[in-house]
């Protein structure tokens, strides 16, 4: 979107990176920081309250909590890690999923309206400081130092000389790219999604306030798109949370796998 100069002389400056750098609310605390803490409170409260008195035959709230827990446990952790080893990783995968999910959904919740994961620091913390150490740790523990390096960089089945090519690529991927792309994937999706919503919302506002009368109704179109995009965002936010947890489980599963 270029710079739009209209008759009134008011210029429309499209939303950009600056909209993701929010002024501190108090001290050095910014909105995303508050949201992250809020997400911890929400997820903890949800699970602690619903799991307080679990019954074999679930109540409505227990059923909801069980569905989420089941999703993290069976659909993600067990599928990716394998039914032999997945048990110890269930809390980690469930936490990753719910934490990212709630922080993503903040992006479309009125008043909050900011996806925490659009600040690169948060996904980076999860991917590089949590998932990355965990999957390499369990890999080294399972296969031994040399064994794991070989396991990770030299997939069996390739003819000899190919390893000269494959091993560095695999190494680069496993030890450098995976955690970074894991973080950037969710960050970029949230960043772009929030930006799109801002463009349509602020663009509509600008058109309504400053455009010539003939162009003012167009703002309705812009807002309609903003609403449609909100639904799309909701889907993407859930999807990204799922992918984040899925890939984390996948890395752990690959590190633990006996065969490549």
């Amino acid at each position: 979107m270029g710079r739009l100069v209209l008759a009134e002389g008011e210029t429309f400056s499209p939303p950009g990176v600056k909209d993701f750098i929010l002024p501190p609310i108090f001290g050095d605390v910014t909105k995303p920081m508050v949201l992250v803490v809020l997400s911890v409170v929400i997820v903890s409260a949800f699970f602690l309250i619903t799991s307080r008195n679990l019954k074999v035959i679930p109540s409505k709230w227990q059923f909801a909590a069980e569905s989420v827990y089941d999703f993290g446990r069976n659909s993600i952790a067990r599928e990716q890690i394998g039914s032999k080893d997945f048990k110890p990783f269930v809390p980690l995968i469930l936490t990753l999923f719910t934490f990212v999910l709630v922080n993503n959904l903040f992006g479309i919740i009125p008043v909050l309206q900011f996806p925490t994961m659009s600040r690169i620091g948060f996904p980076l913390a999860l991917a590089v400081l949590v998932v990355y150490p965990v999957y390499h740790y369990v890999g080294f523990k399972r296969h031994g130092f040399v064994g794991y390096l070989k396991h990770a960089t030299m997939p069996p089945g390739a003819p000899g000389p190919i390893y000269l090519l494959v091993a560095p690529i695999e190494f680069l991927q496993k030890f450098i790219l995976n955690p970074v792309t894991l973080a950037i994937r969710v960050f970029a999706a949230m960043f772009a999604g929030h930006l799109i919503l801002l463009v349509f919302t602020l663009g509509g506002e600008y058109l309504l306030l400053h455009a010539p009368v003939a162009l003012k109704p167009v703002s309705l179109v812009a807002w309609a798109f903003a609403i449609a995009m909100t639904f799309l965002e909701a889907f993407i936010q859930i999807l990204q949370a799922y992918i984040f947890a899925l890939l984390s489980a996948n890395f752990i599963g690959m590190a633990l796998a006996e065969e490549h």
Binding site: L48, V90, P91, R119, I184
Partner: protein
């Protein structure tokens, strides 16, 4: 919106992480991970174990009940067959017993009739013997009397008289016995 141009000038790259956010994100995540792994996951896992146990227990119980029912049915069938055999046996026994009783009664009746007949015969024999004895005595006396009248002489000698009579009677017996039998 007014001071955006000022901010835009010093806008940092969005992919440069803020250290504070990284640390906060990590701490917040670890806190949540602690809560979930310490409290939430164990509760759910316990519930799952309980549920599995309950379902397995239920299946086991149903299987046991079915086996019990099967056993009871077999037992009842066996008992029924036994009862049938027993009743048949009792019927047979009763029939045999009735037969036996009938036989016994018949034997008893025959015996009784034989006894009665024998008794009658004995009585008859006794009466006959008595009558014969009486007759013999009478006959002796009358004969003697008749003879004494005929002869006209009294047979004073007792011994001689008895001998004569006896001899006569013996002759009479020997004559009448073959004729009678």
């Amino acid at each position: 919106m007014v001071n955006t141009s000022i901010l835009a000038a010093e806008t940092p790259s969005p992919v440069m992480p803020h250290l504070a956010e990284v640390i906060l994100g990590l701490v917040a995540f670890l806190l949540l991970l602690f809560v979930i792994s310490k409290f939430v996951a164990p509760r759910f896992e316990k519930l799952y174990a309980e549920r599995t146990a309950k379902i397995e227990g239920g299946i086991e119980k149903a299987e046991r009940a079915q086996a019990e029912a099967e056993a009871a049915l077999q037992q009842y069938k066996a008992q029924l067959a036994e009862a049938r055999a027993e009743s048949a046996r009792i019927r047979d026994d009763a029939r045999a017993e009735a037969e036996q009783i009938k036989e016994e009664l018949r034997a008893q009746a025959q015996e009784e009739s034989a006894r009665i007949v024998a008794q009658g015969q004995a009585q008859l024999a006794a009466q006959r013997a008595q009558i014969v004895a009486e007759l013999r005595a009478d006959l002796g006396r009358h004969a003697v009397e008749l003879a004494s009248r005929v002869v006209g002489e009294s047979l004073e000698d007792e011994a001689r008289r008895r001998g004569t009579v006896d001899r006569f009677l013996a002759e009479l017996d020997s004559v009448s016995a073959p004729a009678k039998s």
